[in-house]
Amino acid sequence: MPLSADQETQEEDLNMENNEELPEGQQDRRSFLRYFGAAVGCGGAAIAAGTALRATATAVVAQAPAKPDIPGYDWTQHRWAFGVDATKCIGCLRCVEACKTENNVPRDAHHFRTWVERYVYLEGDDKAHIDSHSDPVNIAASGSEAEYRFANRYKDAKVEKAFFVPKLCNHCTHPACVQVCPTGATYKTLDGVVVIDHTYCIGCQYCVQACPYGARYFNEEKGVTDKCTWCYHRITKGLQPACVEVCPVGARIFGDRNDKQSPISLFIRDNRVSVLRPESGNAPNVFYVGIDKEVS
């Protein structure tokens, strides 16, 4: 029967006692074999450890997070999703305002759970002029970083096409942010929302880097990462997210995909919807209608 690497090592160990009597070349060979055996042993151990690690990884991913303690709410019964109809958005930014208030988001131009982008194609231009309310020109127009508006900066230009695109966390099916979190402080709930446990986040900002949509920000005062939760505290009580609630034109749609008659199910059924950056493999759950090729 062939010997395993460990057995070989033991065998060589036993033979080493007579090493002094062996000719030099043989001694070298024996010591080489001995260390080779040890190296193979180490390699084997590493592979075993790797396999165990993989098994643990699978187990951890498969394990469901602890059920939230919300009276009358069963998170196994819902599959939340969000829709954005860009053809309806008028760029009023009430959604941004509502979100900042509802979720206690720092009132400046650098922390947003949701924001709105403006795409303007001028006559003769191939590429869009893109800005958000965080653009210095727009901040100058509002007079404060805590007030949000789009300046009328294209009033003298010949605009060929223009539209607004509301953005927010995509609550991806395969969220890159959750993948990279070293502690598991950010995780995906069973009803499809990506949330952050602020009492467990270490504030490394790896998730901020991993999100291709720029949906996460770091809250310096709290020392943790933050982002849109689709107002989880509201939706689990049967309410709509704050941004959906205040949108005057119905550009934001929210609902349960398990309910075939919910606004979001109908929105996805009745329209040709797209998602942002499908090539990332993140499989977003915010579905868009009316966006252009340059939106990503």
């Binding site: 951890v60 924001w115 990279v180 070293p182 720029g214």
Partner: protein
């Protein structure tokens, strides 16, 4: 608010949340120090494992340097964390899909390995001091000797076996640790500048050259300070090592950059705008010309002409300093560069380095100087010298 001073000005379109750059100069220091650990360990291993006698004069210094750098590696990370007191969460409940979660374990394993190897290497000194010295230092050495004063040939031979085994395990551990740092960046698909399979080997090879360069500089400086003759074959050996690994590093960086440009995926126009503009000084001038091409030309000339004596020492030391600067700039250009190119692929940000503050240049300079300060102290307690000072 203090942090709002760090808002990055931008051109084009960037996501609003991107205007505060998440990873600052401290995250450049972290891979730089990890690289020095791996590189210094390489020099130590060339002697301990591959029996390259020419590295003997610097081998113990290399091992001690590696330990000093490793002990400081977590510092910039901890300073950067929003909640450093929760850092152990990553080890208590590691999220195993995270490339970062394993860092605590890998770093701890390697630190223990380094401590053990250093202990075996310096055990004869520890035992002698434990027997000779009185007072606090005597107690310190007696505790460190762990109750064993055996310096017989049999015991020393046993030590040598341990050193050899630890050095062998240390090679994949040190290089794995640094290759893994490259993976932390290379595995992120959100940034085109980072997302490359070549990132781990680039980090690894640049780590080896940075450690070798540091050792060359430290060896020459310590010899000068101690007024001992500089071992020319040792310096020449480092010149060869530096030259060889620099070739690999340059080749890999070249291939990586060429692939990025040749693939020309979405956002390449902005990347090229970045390369032609803000990268002229940090990358092309400092990292490439002054830190890579110039040392390679100087080293090639010295190896070709068989330069020796003081010229060789001066040349290798100067090249060492240039390489050390270049590798730091490489970390800078990766970490900061990646974040200056907006995720939108339609804009560029400009990182603002401040002098004061936890994420400022002063703290970064302290964390860079800390291993040298630590080495100065430890070298007095555990002299890593091959020859006694005059």
């Amino acid at each position: 608010m203090d942090t709002l001073l760090h808002v990055a000005p931008f051109t084009g379109y960037v996501f609003p949340n991107e205007t505060l750059i998440p990873w600052t100069i401290l995250i450049c220091v972290y891979p730089y120090l990890t690289g020095l650990v791996a590189g210094a360990f390489t020099i130590s291993s060339l002697y301990q494992v591959f029996a390259m006698e020419r590295f003997k004069p610097a081998a113990h210094l290399a091992l001690l340097t590696s330990l000093c750098c490793m002990l400081v590696v977590p510092v910039p990370l901890l300073i950067h964390l929003g909640h450093p007191e929760r850092a152990f969460n990553a080890m208590i409940t590691p999220h195993t899909t995270s490339a970062f979660a394993i860092f605590g374990y890998a770093a701890s394993f390697y630190t223990i390995l380094l401590l053990l190897e250093n202990w075996f290497v310096f055990r004869p000194h520890i035992v002698r001091q434990a027997q000779q010295r009185q007072g606090v230092l005597g107690l310190f050495y007696r505790i460190l000797s762990l109750g064993s004063n055996d310096l017989s040939e049999r015991a020393l031979s046993y030590d040598r076996k341990w050193i050899f085994a630890l050095a062998i395990i240390g090679i994949p551990a040190a290089h794995g640790l640094h290759g893994y740092v490259g993976f932390v960046f290379g595995s992120l698909k959100s940034r085109e500048w980072w997302s490359s399979d070549l990132m781990p080997p680039i980090f690894l090879f640049s780590a080896i050259i940075s450690g070798t360069a540091l050792l060359a500089v430290l060896y020459v400086i310590t010899c000068k300070l101690r007024k001992v003759t500089i071992d020319l074959p040792c310096v020449k050996g480092m010149a060869y090592t530096l030259w060889g690994f620099m070739m690999f590093t340059l080749l890999l960086e070249g291939v990586e950059f060429a692939s990025l440009v040749y693939r020309g995926r979405e956002g390449i126009e902005v990347i090229m705008e970045y390369v032609r503009g803000p990268l002229i000084i940090p990358f092309f001038t400092i990292q490439f010309v002054l830190g890579s091409v110039l040392p390679i030309v100087v080293l090639t000339y010295m190896i070709w002409r068989g330069t020796t004596g003081k010229t060789l020492i001066a040349g290798v030391t100067a090249c060492g300093v240039m390489v050390l600067i270049a590798v730091f700039m490489m970390r800078w250009n990766v970490v900061i560069g990646g974040q200056e190119i907006a995720k939108t692929g339609k804009g560029l940000l400009s990182y603002q380095l401040h002098f004061w503050g936890w994420e400022g240049a002063l703290v970064a300079a302290f964390t860079l100087a800390a291993p040298i300060v630590l080495l100065t102290i430890l070298a007095r307690l555990f002299p890593p010298w091959d020859k006694p000072a005059h």
